[in-house]
């Protein structure tokens, strides 16, 4: 490989970082609900991406490819943490009504309705959360989501509708009487 080609590759990598690291980080932050963990996983995602750079076929856009790696990293992390009782409790805190103190989203959500909605999203299981985040917070198409989550497009559409109905029910439950 020539030095020129390597320089081009490094330049391409720098562009990929600049263009996509915010969405990768935000996806991981929403799904992990932990700033520190989201930052670590973002770095792990890009490290894994450089290792797999040769296999990146440009069949999908770089953002989808990175999100797919990020989701795998998150799933690996969930599996690792399932052995740790304290952290498992954090991951299973679906019933918790108090906002996550570590999550900067809570500081941004000024109105009560948005706060409740975001909290309701956080009570969903990991897959449901990922669906809502990818589709509504990150504007990913169903086909991109299918690639990221490694599920058929039809299942993704059906699941998004299901999770949306679940969210509506959760919001109903939270309505003051």
């Amino acid at each position: 490989m020539t030095d020129g080609q390597n320089t081009d590759d490094r330049q391409q990598c720098r562009s990929i970082v600049r263009d996509h690291y915010p969405s990768v980080y935000r996806f991981l932050l929403h799904i992990t609900r932990d700033e520190g963990l989201a930052e670590d996983l973002t770095q792990e995602t890009f490290a894994a991406a450089w290792q797999k750079f040769n296999t990146f076929e440009h069949r999908s856009d770089a953002g989808t490819w990175l999100c797919r790696i990020a989701y795998r990293k998150f799933i690996d992390q969930v599996r690792k943490r399932q052995t740790d009782a304290k952290l498992t409790e954090n991951l299973k805190s679906e019933k918790r009504s108090e906002p996550e103190t570590q999550n900067p989203m809570d500081r941004l959500l000024a109105d009560e309705r948005s706060r409740q909605l975001y909290q309701a999203v956080q009570t969903l299981d990991e897959n449901g959360r990922a669906l809502i985040i990818l589709h509504y917070l990150q504007n990913r198409s169903f086909s991109q989501m299918a690639e990221i989550l490694d599920q058929p497009v039809g299942s993704i559409k059906w699941r998004v509708n299901q999770v949306l109905s679940r969210l509506r029910d959760l919001m109903e439950e939270r309505k003051p009487l």
Binding site: Q5, R14, Y21, Y25, H30, T55, L117, Y136, L167, R168
Partner: protein, 150 residues
């Protein structure tokens, strides 16, 4: 499709989800990610994988072809050759045994010993490495002893 109140609620919910604010990015993360880009991006490994796959496919093809050749030579040629060999061996042993039996009969017949000796020598010369040849050799020695005694 979404005219009923339930669907209106869902549409409202979708709109609210899309309007949720984006969280801030931690300071220094971009620099960390840029610094972690490796000095060299190895593009050759993909070609290596391609060449390895081709070499493996070629090797598999050669092994398959050689296996086919072995299979054919074992299932067709070898059994045919083996059957002919066995048949020839049996026929040869049969001829040798017939001639030995004739020579033994002649040896028992008065005045027939000289003819028997000739036939025994014939068996030894024409059918070497057979049981009949070994037997003929013993018979010949026995005839020679009898001749000396006489």
């Amino acid at each position: 499709m979404r005219n009923d109140p339930n669907n209106k609620e869902l549409e409202l919910l979708e709109a609210q989800l899309r309007q949720l604010p984006q969280p801030p990015i931690p300071a220094g993360l971009e620099e960390k990610l840029l610094a972690a880009i490796p000095k060299r991006i190895d593009r050759s490994s993909r070609q290596r994988i391609l060449w390895s796959s081709l070499a493996a496919a070629l090797a598999a093809g050669l092994i398959f072809a050689f296996s086919l050749y072995l299979f054919h030579s074992q299932t067709q040629s070898t059994p045919q050759l083996a059957a002919i060999d066995i048949e020839q061996t049996i026929t040869r042993a049969g001829f040798a045994a017939e001639r030995l039996a004739a020579a033994q009969l002649l040896a028992q017949t008065p005045g027939g010993q000289e003819f028997a000796r000739e036939r025994l020598n014939y068996v030894i010369a024409q059918f070497p490495n057979t049981d009949a040849a070994k037997q003929a050799n013993l018979e010949l020695q026995s005839l020679s002893k009898r001749r000396i005694i006489q």
